[in-house]
Symmetry: C2
Subunit: 192 residues, 2 copies
C-alpha cells in the first residue's frame, strides 16, 4: 500500500523510516468507481489526492453547459482544487474518476502539519508546484501559438498514456476544441 506514493516522493526527497511511519498516520486511502465524484462544484475542497491507480479529471462547466477540462491525473499525479482548498470558498470545479481508481488522500490540515513536522516535505511540495507551474505556462503558450493539429500532436508526444486511456471528447475539451474539430483534425493527420 502507498507504494507508488512513497516511490514518487523518494524521487525528490529522502524520508527516514520514522518519517515514513509518521507520514502514514496522515494518509487515508480511498477508492473511486468510474464516473464517481471526488469533488463537486459548490463543495469546499478539503484535501489533495494522489492517484495510486486509475485516472481522474478536473473540469468546470460554463454557462452554456460545456465542460472544460482543467487537468487529467493518472497514476503518480496529484489532483485537487487548490484555490478552494486555500481560500475555503466553494469550488467551481468538479473532479471525477475516468476509470475505477485508488487514491491517497491528505487533508488540508494533515498537509500543513506534515510540512511543519517534515520540512523536507515542504520542499517536495515546492518542487511539485514548480513543475506544475512550468507545465501550466507551457500549456498556455501552446494554446495560443499552435494549430489544432499541432496541439493534438504535442499532447500525443507529451502524454501518450493520457491519449490512449481517455475518451476523445475529453481530449478535445482539454485542448479547447469541440469533439468534431478534433475528429476532423485526426482524420486529416492520418492522410499523411
Amino acid at each position: 500500500m502507498y507504494e507508488l506514493f512513497f516511490s514518487r516522493i523518494a524521487e525528490k526527497i529522502e524520508l527516514t523510516e520514522e518519517e515514513k511511519a509518521l507520514f502514514i498516520t496522515y494518509l487515508t486511502p480511498k477508492k473511486l468507481r468510474r464516473k464517481q465524484y471526488l469533488l463537486q462544484e459548490g463543495d469546499v475542497c478539503k484535501s489533495v489526492a494522489f492517484v495510486e491507480k486509475g485516472a481522474l479529471r478536473s473540469y468546470t462547466i460554463d454557462n452554456k453547459g460545456t465542460e472544460h477540462i482543467i487537468q487529467f491525473a493518472l497514476e503518480g499525479w496529484w489532483i485537487s482544487d487548490m484555490y478552494s482548498m486555500l481560500t475555503g470558498e466553494p469550488s467551481n470545479q468538479n473532479i471525477d474518476a475516468i476509470e475505477d481508481s485508488e487514491l491517497v488522500i491528505i487533508s488540508r490540515n494533515a498537509q500543513e502539519e506534515l510540512m511543519e513536522r517534515i520540512p523536507k516535505y515542504e520542499r517536495y511540495n515546492r518542487l511539485l508546484l514548480q513543475n506544475a507551474y512550468i507545465a501550466a505556462q507551457r500549456r498556455i503558450n501552446y494554446m495560443a501559438s499552435l494549430t489544432t493539429e499541432e496541439k493534438y500532436t504535442k499532447l500525443v508526444s507529451t502524454y501518450p498514456d493520457i491519449v490512449q486511456r481517455v475518451p476523445q471528447h475529453m481530449i478535445a475539451s482539454y485542448l479547447g476544441l469541440t469533439p468534431e474539430t478534433l475528429s476532423r483534425a485526426r482524420k486529416q493527420m492520418t492522410r499523411k
Copy 2:
C-alpha cells in the same frame, strides 16, 4: 532599497533582522531601460527577478514571427524562465522591460542557498508558486471558456493596472488575440 521586496516577503513569512541582513548579501539590484532585455531566447536563465519598480513581460516568438506574451510583471511581481533555470537548457523565452525598471536579482545558487539557510524562505516560495499555479490554471480555463469580450473584461477587472500601463497590442497578445480583434471588441463594448 529593497523596501517593496521585504514588505512583500513580510506578508507571508516573518524574517528576523539577522535573517534580513543575511538575505541582503544574496541580492543584486539591477536597472533596466525600456525595451532592454533581461533574458533573450537562447540564453540560459540563471536568476529570478523581483520587480521593485517598472514593468516587464516574458514572451515567446513562434515560427511565424508572432509574439505570445506569457506573463507581465509589475511592481511586486516575480519574473524568470523557471524551466530554463531548473534544467539549465537555453530559454525559448524573452524577457524585456516595458518601462524603465528596477529589479532585485537572485541567482539560482543564491536562491538555493537562501532556502537552505532560511527554511521559511522555502515556505515563501511554495506559497508563491501555489498562487502562481492557481492563477495559471484559471487563465487556461478563461482562455477556453470565455468570449473575446469576456476575456478582456476579466483582465480589466483583475489587473486594471496592467491594462492601463501596457500597450494594447501586448494585452491582445496576452489574451491570445490579434490587435485588430481586441480593438474591435473594445469598440463593441463602448457601444453598451
